[in-house]
Amino acid sequence: MDAAISVSGVSKKYSRNANAHLGYSIGDLMRELSGRRRTAELRPDEFWAVKDVSFDLYPGDSMALVGRNGAGKSTLLKMMNGLTKPSAGRITLRGRIQALINLGTGFNPNLSGMDNIFNAGALMGMKAREIKGRIEEIVEFAELGEFIDSPTGTYSTGMKARLGFAVAVNLSPDILLIDEVLAVGDFAFQNKCFTHMEQLKKQGVTIVFVSHSHNRVIKLCERAIWLHGGVVKAAGTSLETVQAYLAFLDANEEARVRNAAAKRSAKEWSAAAKAMPSDLQPDDVLDTDEAWIKKSVARSEGGLYGPVVDSTKDVDDIKCDLVVDGQPADTVPVHSAVEIHFSFRLKRRVEGLCSTLVFFRKDGLRVAAIATLRDGRLKHIHEGRVRCVYRIPDFDLVPGEYVIMMPIAEGQGYLWRDVVKEFYVSGGGDVYVGIKDIRHEYEIRVD
């Protein structure tokens, strides 16, 4: 059986600054027109967006392209769709191709959804008769109801995607190329689309899927290719490939957090030392965490993690450390035992002291909080250094970047409130969903 998609040694180069190298475009055009091959070497300022990629897909196969932004996924998909010419190699596609690369393309915002169905259908190669024959199916699938006669300019991004997808998937393609177009729809519609794609797969449609949703990738595709810098880093089953990719991301992120912490320490210690008055002893210098905390004030001013109160009138010298296996750490493996050590100096006696550790995902989502308010142990405390250790036997936040925001309050009023720690939870390449990974066991019985 012939492969539905055959990609053989395909490469694509781009210029980093195409506007500065207009001559390259003319050169490529003249080569095309004169029958000469395009140069296989990189010219100054060029880079390989895709380099030497090969694979075959047969009818009914589904494959995902995963990788970071700029890895070459979309470029490869565009070459497969004939939108751009490979710089080297050959792509052969057998069957009717349908590409979902930008679902709103061809829509005129001043025209109704109905008008745009005809436009989108025509762009996808349908004739008027074909579109009319499927119009009911399309309208029903898009779930736009009475809005189908409203101008698409009044639609949300999700509604436009629904309309575009509804037209595209009702075309009975043999090959479906999808580039992260369903990220904008609501969950119910996404689910409907993926169910529809499963049906298409069963009918023998070959699917190439570009997505950053690893769960979707694993569920929809049997195979995956991980592209990095245009080169195939791993290829295999979608689960194996996604795991390899996630392990890489983990290692990268750990290194980044480690480097950032190291840089911070070195830089801020030196800045603090420079600023130290000559009559102070080294021990009096603000320690690195506090210097970093001050820096974090600026970061938090945007309010991503709530209000910042950075007055040191009542509280200062705040320190916070994550300790894993007895060592301070910036990276915490998921499900490890973690201790959180924090301390601060109270400058006066406080009635009803309460300190809380609020865990935020880096993007601002509040995921958990631990407060001392519950048992009242911190109440009625006189001035001096307050030290506290939290022990978490199973740290179950899913891999990602997090921050700890620490409010210190007297009753309902904040004495101090700011970010005290930034850390990364690593997952060792496993796939996680949601914000917490619930430890569990399961058994299956079939009667």
Binding site: S25, E32, R38, T84, L93, N108, N110, N119, K127
Partner: protein, 287 residues
């Protein structure tokens, strides 16, 4: 690049780095297939653009007519005030200048619209794989649409001032689409180069303004034998003069020059179409 062939009923598309230029037969077959398959798409694209353009304008197309008609009105007034002497033209000046202005407006459209085709179709070129011919056809249909109204105005003016040859006007209407194709040739040929260096369309825009005065738009040409040579070497002048004479007098004034320029322009059009077809996959990423 789009080596699409039918094999056991299933379409096969082959995309490679190799140039297609030496496979002339295959490329021309794709070009013709592109025209056949793109008809409905081109119609939808034009309909979309027109509906979108005029959906918020109370007077729609009237604005497009107003510009050349005001221009014609000004020259008519200048002639009446004897500020200009347009020469002996063999027909009422109103008819002469209306035909001249509207035919020149069509010429300008036909040069500039295909020249800017990559910029105009940027979103489609980057996201949807359609035959390059769909873009060309859409431009052609749009110019035809604009011209339809111009032809009606010319018919009304010619009839109102008694300067019309019924048979000649029918021939004029039949030849009009060929005139558009001929005028499009230079724009189509240069479009890929304009996609890289947008200076070309700016230059064309600047050159087309004074060229109007070197054409028999507001006055009769030629005045002297030297200018007569310039006239023969000026294709829009030859087209405008002959088409106007055909519609109003039922005859063409310089058939040899007209035939030569038509043949030359159509040959240029085919060459331009061929270049455009091969250029789209190379340049779409830079549109």
């Amino acid at each position: 690049m789009t080596g699409e062939i039918e094999k056991s009923g299933r379409p096969v598309a082959v995309y490679s780095a190799d140039s297609q230029v030496l496979r002339l037969g295959e490329v021309f077959a794709h070009m013709l297939r592109g025209v056949r398959r793109s008809n409905y798409l081109a119609y939808r694209l034009v309909r979309r653009d027109i509906k979108g353009e005029y959906s918020r304008a109370a007077f729609g197309m009237l604005w497009d007519w107003l510009d050349p008609l005001i221009f014609a009105g000004i020259f008519y007034a200048l002639m009446h005030l004897r500020v200009i002497n347009p020469g002996e033209m063999g027909m009422p000046y109103v008819t002469f200048v209306t035909f001249g202005v509207l035919l020149y407006a069509t010429f300008v459209d036909s040069v500039l619209m295909p020249l800017r085709i990559f910029a105009r179709s940027k979103a489609l070129l980057q996201h949807v794989n359609v035959a390059p011919e769909a873009h060309l056809l859409a431009v052609y249909y749009r110019i035809l649409f604009n011209s339809g109204f111009r032809v009606v105005v010319m018919l009304l003016v010619a009839a109102a001032f008694g300067a019309i040859s019924p048979l000649g006007f029918i021939a004029f209407v039949l030849v009009y689409p060929v005139y558009i194709l001929a005028a499009m040739s230079i724009g189509v040929l240069l479009a890929p180069f304009n996609a890289v260096y947008a200076d070309l369309s700016r230059l064309a825009e600047i050159l087309l303004r004074p060229l109007r005065y070197l054409c028999p738009v507001m006055w009769v040409l030629p005045f002297t034998p030297e200018q007569g040579i310039l006239y023969t070497l000026n294709p829009p002048a030859v087209f405008i003069d002959n088409l106007r004479a055909l519609a109003t007098l039922g005859t063409v004034s310089s058939p040899v020059a007209l035939a030569a320029w038509t043949a030359g322009a159509l040959a240029t059009f085919v060459l331009g179409w061929f270049v455009f077809h091969l250029s789209v996959p190379v340049l779409s990423e830079r549109a």
